[in-house]
């Protein structure tokens, strides 16, 4: 009988009973309460060790807990669900100073996708600006989200100076900042106008801004949908931008918005005039000094 055609009660009973059986079986088999049997062979490395982590977080022991949660749950889940394709990761591979990540926002899945797209070292030094009036309205929810994603409350309804102060403190402490300059999730998946706060913050703190574009998040988890669905995702990271000395914060915001919109477009078809050799050589990737690491 198909799983969904059973009655809800018998199904729940079956699921719970099965789960209990599984836990008991694993408990007995792996000797949770007795020493490892001496007849078992030595444990081997089996799989190559994962890359060492360079991250640290704001407070212990939350730092360690979040580390585990992200690596055991969040990142594998994101990878398994949507297998995001990341382009331009080289721009954040070797950040010399804190940056602001500015991305379009169409889904609750955006934060996980951004964290997934970053390199280990960048992710472990990144905090996410979360709408104070939404995420921190219920303290328990806000704390859980902070535990998972390293968020901090960011007011959308005023208090610009206070926001600037707390954000700049984080930047000065060596943290990267994820900001969604649209202010809230897009209702239809299209990029909305950017609010000027990001340009102001970057200008005041002299922080570079890394534009990012997430494609497909609206399809997997739009507004009013609670559970994400599997689907294709592309995260594109652009070149870090620094505000010019004579550039106003609004102009810089417009430049950031333009950069995100440009990333959203498909790569320009290469000119088909000329031979493949010219196209091939033109697309040769840049050599990075850290490639040898």
């Amino acid at each position: 009988m198909a799983w969904y055609s059973e009655g809800p009660l018998s199904r729940i009973t079956g699921v719970v009973g099965g789960a209990i059986d599984d836990v008991l079986r694993v408990r007995r088999a792996w000797h949770w309460d007795t020493p490892r049997p001496h007849t078992w062979p030595e444990q081997g490395a089996v799989v190559p060790a994962e890359a060492s982590d360079l991250g640290w977080a704001r407070v212990e022991p939350v730092r360690s807990i979040r580390y585990l949660i992200q690596r055991v749950l969040l990142l594998p889940f994101t990878e398994a669900m949507v297998h995001p394709k990341v382009e331009g990761r080289e721009w954040v591979r070797e950040l010399e100073r804190p940056v602001i990540f500015a991305a379009n926002h169409s889904s609750h899945a955006d934060t996980s996708l951004i964290l997934h797209a970053l390199t280990d070292s960048a992710r472990d030094r990144t905090v996410v600006a979360a709408a104070a009036d939404y995420w921190f309205k219920r303290p328990i929810l806000g704390n859980i989200v902070s535990l998972f994603l390293n968020t901090f409350p960011f007011s959308r309804t005023g208090g610009a100076q206070a926001q600037l102060h707390s954000s700049s403190q984080l930047l000065k402490s060596g943290w990267n900042l994820v900001l969604f300059p649209e202010g809230s999730r897009s209702p239809d998946g299209r990029i909305q106008e950017f609010k000027p706060g990001i340009g102001f913050l970057a200008k005041e703190t002299g922080t570079p801004v890394v534009p990012m574009h997430i494609q497909g998040a609206f399809q997997i988890m739009p507004r009013h949908q609670q559970i994400p669905l599997p689907g294709p995702i592309r995260v594109r990271i652009g070149k870090p931008m620094t505000p010019g000395p004579a550039e106003g914060s609004r102009e810089f915001t417009a430049r950031i918005e333009n950069a995100v919109r440009t990333l959203s477009k498909e790569p320009r078809q290469l000119e088909f005039q000329g031979s493949w050799i010219e196209r091939w050589q033109a697309s040769k990737p840049r050599e990075f000094r850290y490639e040898a690491d």
């Binding site: 079986r25 088999a29 062979p41 081997g44 089996v46 990878e79 398994a80 297998h83 493949w276 697309s283």
Partner: protein, 526 residues
């Protein structure tokens, strides 16, 4: 230092063993005294694959350096293996991409303007653009697709040429572009000993007319097994065809091998022996098991098919086909060989969610047979782990579930052919030409993403040797009607299956469980 494969004997303390169960998993307690065969741990991958590739191209085996073969004005073709390898698909960058980028760099330097890249998919389905892009990488895809990077079409009469007949009368055809090239470079990924060598060209760039010479019940029944090329009639036939092709066109072979690191970190417990499971692995097992128990099949499939394997390249060789392939097989065996002493009355196998022919699709019943009785049973050298007349027990839900886009001819084969007979030889006589030449299946193979009309027959005869060898075949936890249509027996639990098996092999049978995947090759000693 990675550990070699191991055979352990089950005692009171041995933990239950993991069985793959399609898009699910199970833990089963094996009877006392049973053997569990584990694959070796993944070998250390080459630290700098690009450097190794450059070295292989500069110092090929029994051939001139690739650079010296390239000259301006020549017609050059690169052919590469399709997405049926490796399994699961490799996390980017695929080793074929790395090899092709080096080769293309050299071709660009030599000023070769006439360069085409062909996916050598034989009678497999056409890949989607994303699938091709995943194998070749973004740079090759954007530079060459679609006019110079395309997929072989075995039914395109104009673009396949007749090369000739071998001494044994096997007809040979070849992709026209390859046949008319001054140099063909074949970029291969060998995961198991069946792959690569002469088989690459003689199946990947061939048509039905050519492939039917060795993809037939008689040849498969004479292969002991096709995972061991010296004892494989299939490979002898491919070698004869390949030699004829090599006489016609200049071919430079590049073969790569990868380790058996088949599961990403999230599924590490599937990679490890049960005695190595850490509390984290146990937790991941429990979480995965609960998820697969309650989620609908389509959801589980999406999650599983999104997994990419963190394979690492273990060897790359270039040059003359036989010299290259010998080295390749050596590298593959080093990774997957496990010495096993003697045969047993019963062999148990867990059939996983994925085989070579159901990437991004459900594993339909014929493909379950192909995977379990075809591939997994045949992973042996010398003789099968199962004694002649023994019982093979497999775990898979084996649902009536087909992908209409990828496997249209499988549906007819299951509904019509298997309702008539299960005998591979009889089926071949009655149905081979009908399925191979069906105009609708041909159209779907050429223009959509469907396997060739004859492909379900190949999947079925892949199991011919196992069906002939085993006294009984029992599926555990499968759909009863489906298993009966396939001609096998069905049991609800593994214990029931052992009980049923005793009717065939007697009381107190010897039992061996092959804990695969990851892939292994049982080297069975007398």
């Amino acid at each position: 230092m990675p550990r070699p494969g191991a055979v352990i004997e089950v005692d009171r303390n041995t933990p239950p063993v993991l069985f793959h169960f399609g898009e699910g998993i199970r833990l089963e307690k094996m009877p006392l005294g049973a053997r569990i065969v584990y694959p070796p741990d993944p070998l250390e991958p080459i630290a700098h694959p690009e450097r190794a590739i450059k070295r292989a191209l500069a110092k090929p085996l029994e051939d001139d350096p690739l650079k010296s073969l390239l000259r301006r004005g020549m017609k050059m073709t690169i052919a590469f293996d399709d997405l049926s390898l490796p399994l699961p698909p490799m996390a980017a960058p695929d080793v074929r991409q790395l090899v092709m980028e080096e080769v293309i760099d050299m071709a660009a330097e030599a000023g070769i303007d006439d360069l085409h890249i062909i996916a050598a998919l034989g009678l497999h389905r056409r890949m989607t653009e994303d699938e091709v892009r995943h194998i070749v990488g973004e740079r090759i895809f954007t530079t060459f697709h679609p006019d110079r990077l395309y997929q072989h079409d075995g039914e395109d009469l104009e673009n396949n040429v007749y090369v000739g007949k071998t001494a044994q009368g096997e007809e040979v055809t070849l992709n026209r572009r390859a046949a008319e090239s001054d140099l063909v470079i074949y970029v291969n990924l060998t995961l198991v000993p069946m792959d690569g060598g002469h088989k690459s060209m003689s199946t990947g760039l061939a048509s039905f007319r050519s492939i039917r010479a060795h993809h037939n019940a008689k040849t498969l029944l004479a292969s002991r097994s096709y995972m061991n090329p010296p004892d494989s009639a299939l490979h002898q036939s491919c070698i004869r065809q390949g030699q004829l092709i090599e006489d016609t066109v200049r071919v430079f072979h590049i073969e790569t091998t990868v380790n058996n690191h088949a599961f990403p970190a999230v599924a590490n417990f599937m990679q490890k022996r049960e005695t190595d499971w850490t509390p984290q692995d146990q937790a991941m097992f429990l979480a995965t098991k609960q998820m697969t128990d309650i989620m609908p099949p389509a959801f589980k499939r999406n999650v599983f098919h999104a997994m990419r394997a963190p394979y690492g390249m273990t060897a790359v060789h270039a040059g003359q086909v036989d010299a290259v392939h010998d080295k390749t097989l050596e590298a593959v065996r080093k990774q997957i060989n496990v010495p096993v002493e003697g045969q047993t009355d019963i062999v148990t196998l867990g059939v996983p969610y994925l085989g070579p022919y159901n990437i991004n699709a459900p594993m339909n019943p014929i493909l379950v047979v192909c995977m379990g009785l075809g591939y997994l049973f045949n992973f042996y050298r010398n003789k099968p782990v199962l004694r002649k007349g023994g019982v093979l027990i497999l775990t898979h839900p084996c649902r009536y579930e087909f992908d209409a886009v990828q496997h249209p001819s499988y549906i007819d084969y299951y509904d019509e052919v298997l309702a008539d007979t299960k005998d591979p030889i009889e089926i071949e006589k009655k149905y081979e030409i009908r399925f191979a030449e069906d105009p609708w299946f041909r159209q779907l193979y050429r223009k959509s993403h469907a396997y060739h009309g004859i492909h379900p027959h190949y999947a079925w005869i892949w199991a011919a040797h196992a069906m002939e060898h085993a006294g009984d075949i029992i599926f555990v936890g499968a759909d009863r009607d489906v298993v009966h249509r396939l001609g096998f027996k069905c049991a609800t639990t593994l214990d029931d299956a052992f009980e049923m098996a005793e009717q065939t092999v007697g009381r107190y049978p010897s039992v061996t469980h092959l804990r695969t995947p990851p892939i292994m090759l049982a080297d069975v000693e007398a």
